[in-house]
Symmetry: C2
Subunit: 212 residues, 2 copies
DNA sequence: CGGAAAAAATGACCACGGTCGATTTTTATG
DNA sequence: CATAAAAATCGACCGTGGTCATTTTTTCCG
């Protein structure tokens, strides 16, 4: 029966991940060897490579799982009537707080996510598309409400917000933005993006400028 | 005389870089071993580590040098009377074209630049500050001309553009944006940033909307 | 110049990530 | 159940990045 084999594989995969996360957290990513990790998971070293192509892929898979879960949760429970600025800040701040829980994890994950190896492209694109599918309805609603310009493509808007999120994380790594300042910084950034960097040519005080 | 020793060190450093770049280009970064590289530079393996802490630091130092040079050139020759959109696109596109000349180099460089290891923080910040010092006058002039809102901090504006640049590079890696489309994409992105994602509350046709 | 001290160069060495052919386990089939 | 094919497991093995004790070179100073 192929179901049994499949179940066992899943179990092994879980065991590897679990052992990996425990050890990576305890001793750090670099200091944990594959051999050690395999022993902790109760398998041989070579077996690990039947499940993950590289060491950092184990970490990446874990982070992706966690974020996937978080995103589902957030976009499902989103109150779509709230201003788009608030919604975007909430979504990306959740992602930020999650990812920055462990600096080393975050670095490896972000490096691979933002600038993926060619081998990972397929998987990467699939995940991204998946994410877009969650974000698009929210942005579309905002367009309908008149909060976002209708002539802009959803992909471009998503990209704009995502770019600013990348900046936030990058600035956090370089120590320019502390964890406590992150929300304010992201809000400023997103507000800037919405209002525009150039002066409004008109009365812009009628908008929800000061609703923070 | 300590001048002689110093000169020799510089010469060795140059030799390492030169050999590294030749080999990395020919055979790829991963496929080039430090031993091999050292031989090509006419020195012993261990000596390399007296000049660069890790293998990828050799590559990173090279890229940083090249970009530093490019930036100096560009910001010096900038025509500060041209619209800020054009100027920013020109600067970041030059950076983009340079960095994407070699995909492997680009990946390693961007990964380390956007999400640097703690060990590299000091050097990283110094370089960034240096870059800001080149960008700020340009943005300041644009503020004075009324092209950028005066109440925004220069650092935030820089960050905004830089974030969108990060997005461009990331999208290039994932194959969402081809090299030939990059300039148009970046222009769109920057224009979006200037005009704002939300609808202008007024007549926005008087601006230089269609000057491309 | 002599020789001690500091700096730099070196390659044997180590630990680890990843590979691979041999071996075991599971599945499919008559 | 027998047996062959397929899948999964394994650890010895390889090449490499990075370290370090030792050696060589340079500097300094009487």
């Amino acid at each position: 029966m192929s179901g049994l084999r499949e179940a066992k594989k899943q179990e092994t995969r879980r065991a590897i991940m679990q052992a990996a996360m425990r050890l990576f957290s305890e001793k750090g990513f670099e200091k944990t060897s594959i051999e050690e990790l395999a022993r902790a998971a109760g398998i041989g070293k070579g077996t690990v490579y039947g499940y993950f192509p590289t060491k950092s892929d184990i970490l990446h898979a874990f982070c992706e799982d966690e974020l996937e879960c978080l995103r589902q949760e957030l976009t499902a429970n989103a109150d779509q009537e709230v201003p788009i600025l608030t919604q975007m800040v909430r979504i990306y701040m959740a992602e930020f707080m999650k990812i920055t829980e462990n600096r080393e994890f975050a670095r490896i994950f972000m490096q691979q996510t933002a600038f993926p190896r060619d081998v990972d492209l397929q998987r990467h694109l699939a995940h991204e598309d998946n994410y877009f599918a969650l974000l698009f309805p929210i942005l579309e609603k905002a367009q309908e409400r008149g909060e976002l310009r209708r002539e802009l493509e959803l992909l471009h808007i998503t990209g704009h917000f995502y770019g600013l999120y990348l900046l936030l994380v990058s600035a956090w790594f370089s120590g320019r933005i502390a964890t406590e300042e992150a929300e304010e910084a992201l809000t400023d950034l997103f507000r800037q993006a919405l209002e525009g960097l150039q002066p409004q040519k008109t009365l812009n005080s009628i908008t929800d400028n000061g609703n923070e």
